[in-house]
């Protein structure tokens, strides 16, 4: 039972992982992440890589939607911008991946700022529609700007390479994704302990009060858009290296909804929520696949439709019954064991 949380210094109180218990959990998580690639087969590693990429993207959309309160229905398009930038840079300029990835993020951030400009005049539902328009316009560009994007067939790129090691198996890509993911999560977690991050939350809770307290709305909203699309661009760039091909079908409206759904299901406005949501939503189709296999080959053909129905039901169900998502469920479970043998 956790009785008290006694601290002597401010640093101890400001730490991210404040209790021994949470540090132990962190240690276990790190050990699992490090040990995983040596235990799992290539399919497991493939799924882990996908989850890692989705965690980065979901954290990005969480910064924008969960923390700043600006709804984005066009996040897949930002991911696409990152992916196409990485592919183009690596094919035409021949830059190594550790330069391509941040550049992809930066280009996505720039596009994100442009899309975010209407957020100065409009908010809420209207902004959601503006980002939706951006999604379709960018999707159109991906399809039609053939010299750069390769049109509907898409474009392929060479595997990432560092110091003579070619990152082309799931095992090697796993490490790349894990490193980027950990950096991205640490940055996001720390962001909300700074002035900029707290300004995001203030804008979400009441933009007019935030402005009265001296927060520049223009700058804050655009920063949120830029950061969030940087994350999306990073995730898109990783996806480009992961699949070694970039095509418009990877970045459609339904992917945007998938990402938003991950954040809603996981829990908006918490870092843990983005992580849990991304893991859950990435695994759901796989679990569904396993279930449909029981029913035979006919059911497998219906998989993609069933997936859509399940996604929709999850979104509606979580919003109606558990609006704060999996993160809240986790918190409740934690409370049960923390004060055991007492009951809540």
């Amino acid at each position: 039972m956790l009785i008290g949380n006694f601290k002597e210094r401010y640093e101890a109180d400001e730490a991210i992982f404040r209790t021994t218990r949470s540090r132990v959990w962190l240690g276990i998580a790190v050990a699992l992440i490090v040990a995983f690639p040596f235990v799992g087969n290539s399919y497991h590693l493939y799924m882990a890589g996908l989850i890692g990429i989705n965690i980065i993207a979901a954290t990005g959309i969480n910064i924008l939607t969960g923390y700043t309160g600006l709804i984005s229905l066009g996040h897949a398009a930002f991911m696409g911008v990152g992916a196409y930038t990485v592919a183009w840079l690596s094919n035409n300029v021949g830059l190594p991946f550790y330069i391509c990835l941040p550049l992809g993020g930066l280009v996505a951030a720039a596009v994100g700022v442009v899309v975010g400009i209407p957020s100065l005049r409009i908010k809420g539902l209207y902004l959601a529609i503006a980002t939706l328009a951006a999604q379709f316009i960018l999707g159109f560009v991906f399809n039609e700007w053939e010299p750069v994007t390769g049109g509907g067939r898409g474009t392929s790129l060479a595997a990432a390479e560092i110091g003579g090691i070619v990152l082309d198996t799931e095992f090697e890509l796993y490490w790349l994704i894990v490193v980027v993911m950990v950096l991205a999560l640490l940055f996001a977690r720390n962001l909300f302990r700074t002035r900029v991050g707290r300004a995001f939350i203030a804008v979400r809770d009441r933009d007019i009060s935030a402005e009265v307290m001296g927060i520049n709305l223009l700058r804050t909203k655009l920063t949120a858009f830029a950061l969030s699309s940087f994350y999306a661009g990073l995730a898109g760039g990783l996806m480009a290296y992961f699949f070694k091909v970039v095509s418009p079908e990877q970045y459609t409206f339904s992917v945007s909804i998938f990402m938003l759904a991950a954040v809603v299901v996981g829990g908006m406005g918490t870092i843990l929520g983005g992580i849990l949501g991304a893991i859950f939503m990435t695994l759901i189709p796989e679990i569904l696949g396993e279930i449909t296999q029981i029913f035979g080959a006919g059911a497998v053909a219906m998989l993609s439709s069933a997936r859509e129905v399940v996604f929709g039901l999850l979104i509606v169900g979580f919003l109606v019954f558990e609006p704060r998502g999996l993160a809240q469920i986790w918190k409740r479970i934690k409370r049960v064991y923390e004060i055991w043998p007492f009951r809540t």
Binding site: T65, G69, I71, L73, I117, P118, R121, I122, G124, L125, Y126, A128, I129, A130, L132, A133, A134, F136, I137, F140, N143, E144, I208, F253, S254, I257, L260, A261, V264, M268, M302, S304, S305, A306, R307, E308, V309, V310, F311, G312, L313, L314, I315, V316, L319, V320, P323
Partner: protein, 290 residues
């Protein structure tokens, strides 16, 4: 020049259908302040209802239309009751996300029930193209336009002269005042969704007759958002005017620039309107008071 007129006429005719779809959005937004991202998919469901009754069950088209309207009304009422009623008073993002979730459910369900293939609706309209002064308008588009205008007119009359229509307008303008006058506001929300669902179903039948019927028909609903925003979220007249404008621009782009650009035009219009005049041509600007 003749081509210009002909293309314009076809564009305006399609714009009339857009207007009917847009009216569904406006109805829901006016009363409940929700932008219903599932509207396009409700439209698609309406078309499938008609397909089921007229083609699969082989009923006469009049009976099929009546049954479609009833089924669509049930769908609208069900969605409102199950998914939206529990969220009354929640922030906008939750409600938007719920409608997005419903859209996903409907899209997947349509594929499960009716498969993802293309179907043709049994013809309702006479198969003779309308010829005005040597200009040629495809029959389905032309008659679809007339049906759309008729339906919009019918709904306008309904709002002006029936008791429930007046109650609904009262709810739209002031919920608290409406409640104190004895109007059952939650029931009005349900009724709004029912009406919106019926307009969606009628629009679905028209759109399904003009093009083919498949589960991605709902995407038209998203491009019609351009119409809604251009006209103003809360104006039925605006929806009609904007529907005609967007249909016309789209047809001209498709004819003069190229087919691929046609699909992206509504979204460009949308973005431009949102930046320049967010409340649209006929909408009321949102004023925030503290």
């Amino acid at each position: 020049m003749d081509f210009f007129l002909e293309v314009s006429l076809v564009g305006l005719a399609i714009g009339g259908v857009y207007a009917l779809v847009a009216v569904g959005y406006v109805l829901v937004y006016r009363t409940t302040h929700v932008i219903n991202f599932a509207h396009g998919n409700m439209m698609m469901f309406g078309a499938y209802f008609y397909f089921t009754f007229a083609e699969l069950l082989g009923l006469h088209w009049t009976i099929s239309i009546v049954l479609t309207v009833i089924a669509a009304a049930g769908l609208g009422a069900g969605i409102e009751r199950v998914a939206l009623r529990p969220l009354l008073g929640r922030p906008a993002i939750s409600i938007v996300m719920v409608t997005v979730g419903i859209a996903s459910i409907l899209h997947g369900a349509a594929q499960l029930i009716w498969t993802a293939g293309d179907f043709f609706l049994p013809p309702i309209f006479p198969d003779l193209p309308i010829v005005i002064d040597e200009m040629y308008i495809p029959a389905n588009t032309g008659y679809g336009f007339l049906v759309a205008l008729g339906a919009i007119g019918g709904f306008l009359l309904l709002f002006r002269f029936t008791r429930s229509g007046v109650a609904m307008r009262a709810t739209a303008s002031d919920q608290i005042a409406a409640t104190t006058m004895g109007i059952n506001v939650p029931a009005m929300f349900s009724l709004t969704w029912v009406y919106a669902s019926i307009t969606a179903a009628l629009a679905g039948v028209v759109v399904g007759s003009i093009t083919t019927l498949n589960p991605s028909m709902g995407l038209i609903g998203l491009s019609v958002l351009a119409v809604v925003i251009l006209g103003g979220m809360d104006s039925v007249i605006g929806a009609v005017a904007a529907g005609l404008i967007v249909g016309w621009i789209e047809a001209l782009t498709g004819f003069y620039i190229g087919g691929a650009f046609k699909d992206v035009v509504p979204f460009v219009v949308l973005l431009a309107i949102l930046i320049v005049r967010p409340h649209g041509l006929f909408g009321t600007p949102e004023i925030e008071r503290l």
